[in-house]
Symmetry: C2
Subunit: 359 residues, 2 copies
């Protein structure tokens, strides 16, 4: 499968998921009207965020894997499960933004941000307003999480398969919440046993890759052995995706990623790249780097120098090598899957897309 | 069924649910250990709160209704659904306490309270510590909500019944979140369409009564007509329970309720009782009452006077009349249920317990 064909496929799924998400939000907004105008407003704010962005990558991989293994090949059978992935994802985004005190997402005001604006006419005190906006956003995340499970109840397969798929979803949520807690506490509790890679495994791999990929296979009735291999592939894809993200966050093109390529350094994000740097760097490189790292007053020139140090120390190359290993591993694992050559091509394209991307 | 027999029955269920909740927490704590010591701590804090209190009333009514309709009569079949009620309840309590900025519950530190203590050794800045404690407590509520649905996947009945029961749970969550939002916004947005009774219906009736009662019946395979009557009973029980709670919060015995009988007045809680007062009171009574209401500096004598005004105005009697109507309504509805006389007796005892209680 060529990158162009892959992109077309992804875009088609995105359009389908967007249409269904919009319909779902309309349905919920109408139901909310029985509970006062405030609840309608909450659903408006949820809708605005849900439709503002998102590549719908999780639904896409769930449907792709389902298609590869299912005999009927009808997306409608499991579309609710695909939508559920997106609701879980947004529930986590809404709560993650509360923790990070961010008010924007996808270039628009997130749920808390919209509430900050909305409550301005009602609450004068700024910290009181923030508390109320945060509280409402927390409730928005709660209903999205609950509704994700609601949608799982609508998947049109056997009881056994629905139960297994729901168990996969709850395991992904269990892991992503553990990862979120790790990530939050990492700012003030030093746990020597916790590496950036293990946070990536828990926070990104679990619900962005392992969840959708294994769920797609389970819903299609794939064998336990096959699901086990897919789990191994998904973990590597998730970690690799994060490592690539870390590299792009420092060496990427802002035009292509749509994100700052300075803030990871100035905000002191402890990525695998930084961990590698700490292992490879000379004491002088170390000293120079940490004058810039986690320094929000660092100049563009300082940041450029920090980038050079990450290269000169060998840290960047070490991450690239690690990604190359993950590409090899996943490629080898994909070869062993009980799939047609054409379905395997889709998996290879997925690896390329996640691990070799530029944006 | 005598009140004593009812109390014994409730206590037996409580012991069973407590034992299962403890086992569940132990299992989750062990799994959390794979995700760093921080996640183990989070599960310790959840466990402490979960086992600190709670009458397990929601699991009790689910099991009681199930027993009345099921042919097998084996609690084990639906015990996961009963536990799920309790996890949902605690998820909501944890998030509700965050919104209310409360740090204790059942006489112990709640999840956020425990984190405030725990983070003291790591974070000096008080507001930063509060933010982190609140963030961790939010994640604790999230995993409890997710795990409630996880448990629903383990209920040992047909796919159709599990799907219906899950739909009931998600409806209850949808309504309680709407009610929570209403309640939160009521402090600063005046919506003339929203009464204390409608908040009671959404916030208390939905997930404390309608959810467990209709779920118990659905899981036992009760007919749609029967479930409809049970829904009507549950709504009235829930509203009546809240109205009784409002009366006890002002006229109750602190010894029996374990709660302050002044704070509802001094904190200005807009209950149905207060709404009735506003309708019945003379302008002088009105003026005198609102000098005490929502006045945290009010003396014991002031509060005693406010109580007298609630009686003299006829507001207390109006609420008692409303409760008496609800007792009549529910009693009439119970008579029409397709149940044995002995099972109906359990329902009458439930009405007594909820609407005529003293603590």
């Amino acid at each position: 499968m060529t990158p162009v064909a892959f992109a077309t496929d992804l875009r088609k799924t995105r359009d389908l998921i967007n249409a269904r998400l919009e319909a779902y939000c309309l349905e919920r907004t109408a139901e909310a009207a029985n509970h006062g105008s405030g609840y309608v407003t909450l659903w408006h704010f949820i809708t605005k965020l849900l439709l503002a962005g998102g590549k719908r990558f999780r639904p896409y991989i769930l449907l792709t894997v389902y298609q590869a293994y299912a005999k009927d090949g009808n997306n409608e059978t499991v579309l609710s499960a695909a939508l559920a992935q997106e609701l879980i994802h947004f529930a986590m985004l809404v709560h993650d933004d509360i923790i990070d005190r961010d008010l924007t997402r996808y270039g628009v005001r997130n749920v808390m941000g919209q509430y900050e604006d909305f409550y301005t006419s009602f609450i004068d005190d700024a910290s009181e307003k923030t508390h109320m906006a945060r509280s409402a956003a927390m409730l928005a995340g709660d209903i999205l999480l609950s509704d994700a499970y609601r949608l799982m109840g609508r998947v049109d397969v056997s009881k056994q398969l629905v139960a297994e798929a729901t168990e996969i979803m709850s395991r992904a949520v269990f892991e992503v919440i553990g990862g979120e807690l790790l990530d939050t506490e990492a700012a003030f509790i030093q746990d020597p046993l916790i590496s950036a890679k293990s946070i990536a495994l828990h926070k990104t791999a679990s619900y962005s890759f392992v969840g959708p990929i294994t769920m797609g296979a389970v819903l299609a009735g794939a064998s336990k052995e096959e699901v086990k291999i897919l789990q191994a592939i998904a973990e590597r894809l998730g970690v690799g995706y994060q490592l690539r993200d870390d590299l792009l966050g420092v060496f990427g093109s802002e035009e292509k990623t749509g994100k700052s390529v300075s803030s990871d350094i100035t905000e002191g994000k402890r990525t695998y790249l930084v961990e590698q740097f700490e292992q490879c760097a000379s004491s002088q490189q170390h000293e120079e780097f940490f004058k810039v790292f986690h320094n929000i007053h660092a100049s563009e020139r300082d940041i450029a120098h920090a980038r050079k140090l990450l290269i000169a120390s060998g840290a960047k190359a070490a991450v690239e090598t690690e990604i190359a290993h993950l590409v090899d591993d996943t490629t080898g694992l994909i070869e062993t899957l009980c799939l047609t050559e054409s379905d395997k091509q889709t998996f290879y394209a997925l690896v390329d897309h996640c691990l070799q991307r530029e944006g």
